[in-house]
Symmetry: C2
Subunit: 256 residues, 2 copies
């Protein structure tokens, strides 16, 4: 089960909407609001959610953090300010790993975020099992609420999937060594015919440099086929040009 | 050097502002805009940046992606849609590691993002060395532009610092085994005096359970001192109650 997201005293409906949107992006759905400043529901939240309506439709409202976390077994509080508490301090990555492990044990977990202006009160953080702090640049610490949730939700998501989605893997498979060697030798054969390798004693190192320039492109099978077509086109083209020049010469000879 | 952030055809000034804000959060500063829909500069961008003005003040505007990346040596394109291109597809984490390594070699790097509606055109992605895709929930793929930049900027930041900031480490040091044993024995001594361990043959397992309940709290030295105070207060309190009861009994005896 993905962690519950608890927003304590959120101020702007727009931020609640963008939290819902980014929760949906990363597979979270359970949103709880503690004392939203302007009441609940608020239309502007739905407007900002860009269609991610289910976390908003199902959002529960509570009077205090204590009630909002009453059924949860592990709750981490996100804050940018250190407190007088002796709680463990985790990065979002470490927190996600911990919550994932807790969730895998069947525990109900949550992530607590403070309001835009005031953040969390220490008394509420003291109800949590750990503090999460985002490794932000100390020169500019004002992180938007939606962005703070985004980072945590993204880190949660990477515990489930930290690879490009399968749809990105439908590429032509990478060429193997034999396919690359076929390209190299085709290429070098035509370059030999064109007199490219000069002086001849430099040929081995020139060949190596050409091969490594192509090797590091990590070509697909399709790309190897394309490049063999390119080599053929260029060399045949050259052949045609040579034939044309030879013909012109012959005609000039006749005319002369 | 942190990567340059290039926004291709961004539509909303608000999003440009929130991109600037989150760039500042994670230590990025060089922002480039390719054909911003509503022109540049736009006041609303500054309003949304919450004081992160320097990326906006220094933002450069270009007519096309080609010009915007002309001085860069490695550029990765963020997209949620697979293309007919054979580029490597990286997660934001792998991309950050790659850009960090490139940057450490002195290369100038960039991250290219498409506009809110249309994303990137394949022709622009083809100018890049790799594609970055965020491991999003396929059921809700509409990621806000500011959030997409946030994830990438955060991942860049974690290559530099993936630990809580030093200011969070000024806690009381964790208690060592001797301190914990002092607490355990103090606690058990008073519980013995109070007749808590009953029946006596259960004492060893009861002691073990109490010890492990405290051990996993990973107490600090200060917390151990506090809990020893707690044990003393409770046992002295009990002593006072017992003394009071004894006194009452004696008085009743006198009265009787």
């Amino acid at each position: 089960m993905a962690p519950v997201v608890i927003l304590n005293a959120p101020q702007l409906a727009e931020n609640i909407g963008s939290v819902a949107r980014v929760m949906a992006n990363f597979g979270l759905a359970d949103l709880r609001l503690v004392n939203p400043r302007d009441g609940w529901p608020q239309e502007r939240a739905w407007a900002l959610a860009s269609g991610a309506e289910w976390p908003l439709n199902a959002a529960q409202v509570f009077d205090d953090v204590e009630s909002a976390i009453a059924d949860l077994q592990v709750v981490f509080a996100t804050t940018a300010r250190p407190r007088e508490l002796q709680l463990p301090v985790l990065t979002p990555r470490a927190a996600a790993a911990d919550l994932y492990a807790a969730s895998a044990r069947g525990e109900r977990t949550g992530l607590l975020f403070g309001g835009e202006r005031a953040g969390l009160e220490t008394a509420d953080i003291a109800l949590c099992q750990a503090v999460v702090t985002i490794p932000i640049d100390p020169r500019f610490r004002s992180l938007n609420l939606g962005q703070a949730v985004a980072i945590s939700a993204y880190e949660w998501r990477t515990t489930l999937q930290d690879a490009p989605p399968p749809v990105f893997r439908e590429l032509s498979p990478p060429a193997d060594g034999a396919a690359m060697m076929g390209l190299f030798e085709h290429f070098e054969r035509e370059l030999d015919a064109a007199g490219f390798f000069h002086p001849p004693d430099k040929r081995p190192s020139m060949v190596q440099n050409l091969r490594s320039a192509l090797a590091k492109a990590r070509m697909s099978e399709q790309e190897v086929r394309t490049f063999r077509g390119v080599v053929t086109a260029l060399s045949k083209g050259r052949g045609r040009v040579l034939a044309k020049l030879a013909k012109q010469k012959a005609e000039e000879g006749e005319a002369g």
